[in-house]
């Protein structure tokens, strides 16, 4: 069943470090005070302008297989095709931080406030990624409440365009999920609007199903490097 999810703005406000890191500033760099001031201002704008919304829908294996396979452009073998058949539960999702931030970024570039514009863009991208963690946590909590998962269960999000899953599968995903009611639409190029949106599948199961060696051909080009066990909760 498709349902809207409650995403709190404070749960997706990125850290200052994450915003700077996304712009190539290393952890140990000495930060110019003007840069710091501008980055803090961007985070303030983010907290004013972000309007997070999301939808999620449970999906059975056969239906997800159709979405995953899309029009047959996935790279095979790939990790996701080995992970999802082992899932105890699958759900597809789409979420956005809304159009206001995207408009604000453009306006700041137009105005010539380039550093602030780029900080805000980095904050928006990081915040959008954080939505998937919120959804992972919410789904896990729901499943635990329903007795369908326990603390050892891992829920991780995977998106078209990554890990060999071709972006063209967005079409099938959108046909199934219909996220237009929260303002997310898909272009012919499979680009989502608003730009700062995220979609994909939440795969639930034992943590070890998500573990894979990042040695696929596409891993060499991957810039996120946040796959598999790096995303799993650290065991205590």
């Amino acid at each position: 069943m498709k349902r809207k999810v409650n995403i709190l703005r404070e749960d997706i406000i990125p850290s200052l470090d994450a915003v700077l890191k996304l712009q190539g500033v290393p952890d140990d760099a000495e930060i110019n005070p003007q840069v710091m001031e501008s980055a803090k201002k961007a985070l303030h704008y983010f907290s004013e302008l972000a309007r997070p919304q999301g939808v999620i829908a449970d999906i059975d294996l056969a239906d997800f297989e159709k979405i995953y396979n899309g029009i047959g452009l996935n790279v095979s073998p790939g990790p996701i095709e080995k992970i999802y058949p082992k899932a105890s539960q699958l759900a597809v999702f789409a979420a956005t931080i809304g159009p206001d931030i995207v408009k604000a970024i453009s306006a700041l570039f137009e105005k010539g406030d380039f550093a602030l514009a780029n900080h805000l863009d980095a904050a928006a991208s990081t915040g959008t990624d954080l939505i998937s963690h919120v959804l992972e946590n919410q789904l896990k909590a729901d499943l635990i409440r329903q007795g369908r998962a326990n603390n050892e269960t891992a829920v991780l999000a995977y998106s078209p365009g990554y890990c060999g899953w071709h972006i063209s599968s967005q079409k099938q995903l959108f046909d199934f999920l219909q996220p237009g009611d929260i303002g997310i639409t898909l272009r012919d190029s499979f680009l989502m609007e608003p730009l700062k949106s995220i979609s994909g599948v939440l795969i639930t199961g034992p943590a070890n199903i998500h573990v894979f060696e990042a040695a696929y051909p596409f891993c060499a080009q991957c810039k996120s490097k946040t796959c598999g066990e790096k995303r799993l909760p650290k065991s205590k």
């Binding site: 712009q23 550093a115 780029n118 272009r187 190029s189 680009l191």
Partner: protein, 212 residues
């Protein structure tokens, strides 16, 4: 000249108000516009570019400096037009059809303008015809193409092919950039260059200008 050096220094510090004030002083002192541009503003941005290249400073610092550069440029631009001061060449820039990601393209535009090039920014979701028609009409020597999606990358080849079909390959060079593309892809589609980041894009455009 001390004043021009001060312009360069204030730009490097990202101080837009000071850069504008010093540029105004230079104009009042009748220092030739070309000299203010070359030995003040562009000199400052060149240092910024070199420091960025060796990771002494980072993108946010470059963008603060660029804002200062623009503050000075706004003052000398009317004089450049009046005195017909030549730019380093004209570049048509845009994100290809189907793609709305424009941050990378914006950063390249900022760096190119900051380095003295004349940039015609067509925005995002730009058709191959629009790129080539504009470059022809404006007599631009370089087209810069940006894409963030693997699904929109093929539009880059359409632009390269259209330039060839119109017999313009000697006059118009193409440089590409964006997350999914690389040097190898540029070579595969027949593009003339690849800009990994804003600084590399400027270097690449500079070389292509000399060849076009």
């Amino acid at each position: 000249m001390e004043l021009l050096d001060q312009i360069s220094q204030s730009l490097q510090k990202g101080d837009d108000d000071k850069t504008a004030e010093l540029t105004r002083q230079a104009i009042d002192q009748k220092i030739p516009v070309q000299q203010i541009l070359d030995d003040g503003l562009i000199a400052g941005m060149t240092v910024i570019g070199m420091k960025f290249k060796v990771h002494e400073i980072f993108l946010p610092d470059v963008l603060l400096a660029a804002r200062a550069m623009y503050a000075g440029m706004d003052l000398i631009k009317p004089l450049m037009i009046k005195e017909s001061v030549a730019t380093r060449g004209k570049v048509v820039l845009g994100t290809v059809h189907g793609d709305l990601h424009d941050i990378g393209k914006n950063l390249v535009a900022i760096m190119l303008k900051g380095s003295g090039f004349d940039v015609i920014d067509l925005g995002s979701d730009v058709s191959p015809e629009k790129f080539v028609d504009t470059a022809e009409a404006e007599q631009a020597r370089v087209i810069g193409l940006s894409a963030l999606l693997t699904t929109t990358m093929p539009v880059m080849k359409q632009v390269v092919d259209m330039i060839a079909d119109r017999g313009l390959s000697d006059k118009i060079k193409v440089v590409i950039g964006g997350a999914p593309v690389n040097e190898k892809y540029a070579s595969e589609i027949g593009a003339d260059g690849y800009g990994f980041d804003g600084v590399k894009a400027v270097e690449c455009v500079d070389q292509l200008m000399k060849r076009a």
